[in-house]
């Protein structure tokens, strides 16, 4: 196997890629609205402001140092030798995007996509911290995610790092493959959401003295379900851009990516609706929304290398997993996650990565998924599956302890949770001084105070 430089894109591929990248912010907008709608009305404005702050901090920190540590295949990186094989662990690019040529080159397109992707990853933990996460610590936590955790794992996967080189070094298929970011964006964000939920603790009144969780319904199902449509558009862009940049597919195959993304989301939603109807008598709107987004999340990893039937199966299994995971995290693991971020992004993302090993097929004649490996590399089912398992083991065994440790340390020096009276009056009044819905009686606490 020989190492190759990443090939340049054709004019058509570059134009389509730019269009797709410009759709990605809609995914972030969708997630922000979902988190706001699934939270309580007296924290709705805070939730949206927090999302904008997280997006801003993530983009700026990634610009300062994130891309320098993520890098691009073929660019300078720090490596060490393990049993004679090079393990690239972090990039060595200049800070502040210096050295990038903004002319539509693959590296500049990746940098542009990554600014939006890291912002999307930064929005995910807000779902689990809704209603009790203070704005200041939230911004610092986002800076840690965008400046360290995300770029490090993204280098390993998309920057020519050791996970991407598993195929070259150890003959494991095409190496760890994550086309649209099921692991790099979604699982990293979802595991950070889990760390945040556990460190913050549950919302006041979420668990009774006997430990039984109480239902705290979201304040706007309409907002949540509309946001699902926005997220769909964003994911079509995200998966398509990822497929062009990281899987090097021909522009014509974007149609397969779009169909697979949609089928996965549709199957996941229907599965979630069917399961909740079977269990509770009626479909649950919030679980259906979580299922839809979970299908999108799971589709990201394999959208360009599976058949439509496999994409639908991926989505259906994701819908089932997420429906049970929401209950499991709330009832068994005491993780109060108002937005369902842990189940949707961590569980859905990890399932997406594993599903690529199960369903993904890489024709030998196809352009290579890893821009460092010659096309003659063969991808066996067993080798590819093992590579995906190694990637998932890295997420759970390294990324989760890392992001938990960073947030735990931050919490020691700068407590992240709002004061009890802040939670009682709502984060809108406590942190912003104004309510999202000033003309309305918005929750039962307001009525009881009168």
């Amino acid at each position: 196997m020989t190492l190759l430089a990443a090939p340049a894109l054709s004019e058509t591929a570059m134009s389509i890629c730019i269009l797709c990248i410009l759709l990605v912010p809609l995914a972030g907008a969708g997630l922000s609205l979902i988190h706001s709608g699934l939270g309580r009305s007296h924290s709705a404005a805070h939730s949206m402001v927090a999302a904008l702050c997280a997006i801003s901090i993530a983009a700026l920190v990634y610009f300062v140092c994130g891309f320098a540590w993520q890098g691009y295949p073929g660019h300078p990186a720090h490596s060490f030798l393990v049993a004679g094989k090079p393990w690239s662990w972090i990039a060595a690019e200049p800070f502040f995007f210096r050295g990038l040529e903004w002319n539509g080159s693959p590296s500049s397109l990746v940098a542009c996509l990554q600014v939006f992707s890291v912002a999307l990853a930064a929005v995910i933990p807000l779902g689990s911290g809704a209603g009790r996460w203070r704005l200041g610590p939230l911004c610092l936590s986002t800076a840690l995610l965008a400046g360290w955790t995300y770029p490090l794992f993204a280098h390993w996967v998309w920057g020519g790092g050791w996970l991407a080189q598993l195929g070259v070094n150890y003959g494991l298929g095409r190496g760890f493959v994550d086309i649209g970011g099921s692991g790099t964006i979604q699982a990293v964000g979802g595991l950070t959401a889990l760390a945040v939920a556990w460190i913050l603790g549950p919302r006041r009144g979420k668990y009774g003295h006997d430990g039984v969780p109480m239902a705290i319904p979201g304040h706007s199902a309409v907002l949540v379900l509309f946001a699902c449509s926005l997220a769909w558009l964003g994911w079509l862009g995200l998966n398509s851009a990822g497929a062009i940049l990281f899987a090097k597919i021909e522009p014509g195959r974007i149609v397969l990516v779009a169909v697979n993304t949609t089928l996965a989301a549709a199957a996941a939603l229907l599965m979630a609706a069917w399961i909740t109807r079977s269990r509770f008598g009626k479909p649950d709107a919030s679980i259906c929304a979580n299922g839809w987004v979970g299908g999108l999340v799971a589709s990201s990893a394999n959208c360009a290398v599976v058949t439509p039937l496999a994409a639908a199966a991926t989505g259906a299994i994701a819908g089932a997993l997420i429906t049970f995971a929401v209950d499991w995290f709330e009832n068994r693991l005491a993780a109060d996650d108002p937005g369902g971020a842990i189940s949707v992004h961590a569980v859905g993302g990890i399932w997406g990565l594993l599903s690529l090993g199960l369903f993904g097929r890489f024709p030998a004649s196809d352009a290579n998924l890893l821009p460092g490996v010659a096309p003659e590399t063969d991808a066996t089912w067993a080798g590819q599956s093992l590579a995906q398992v190694v990637g998932v083991a890295t997420l759970i065994g390294f990324v989760f302890p890392l992001t938990y440790g960073l947030n735990w340390l931050l919490n020691r020096f700068y407590p992240q949770r709002a004061a009890p009276e802040g939670e009682h009056h709502g984060m809108d009044l406590h942190e912003l001084g104004a309510s999202a819905y000033p003309d309305f009686v918005t929750n039962i606490d307001d009525i009881t105070q009168r």
Partner: protein, 59 residues
């Protein structure tokens, strides 16, 4: 319990990496990767139990 859980998470990951680097591309590698993943699951269960035992700890 929480600390032990995180230790097991990292130890499981180390087993996975060691299996990749040191073992031949055959059944032993697959078995050791699976063993590393199992250790991680154990570690995650410990971390989860430590939080589930004190759901009100955060406030």
């Amino acid at each position: 319990m929480k600390l032990a859980g995180f230790f097991l998470l990292l130890a499981g990951w180390a087993i996975v990496l060691a299996a990749l680097a040191l073992l031949p591309p055959a059944l032993p590698r697959v078995v050791f990767v699976a063993a590393g993943a199992a250790v991680e699951v154990l570690g995650f269960a410990l971390v989860a139990r430590s939080h589930a035992a004190h759901p009100q700890e955060g406030w």
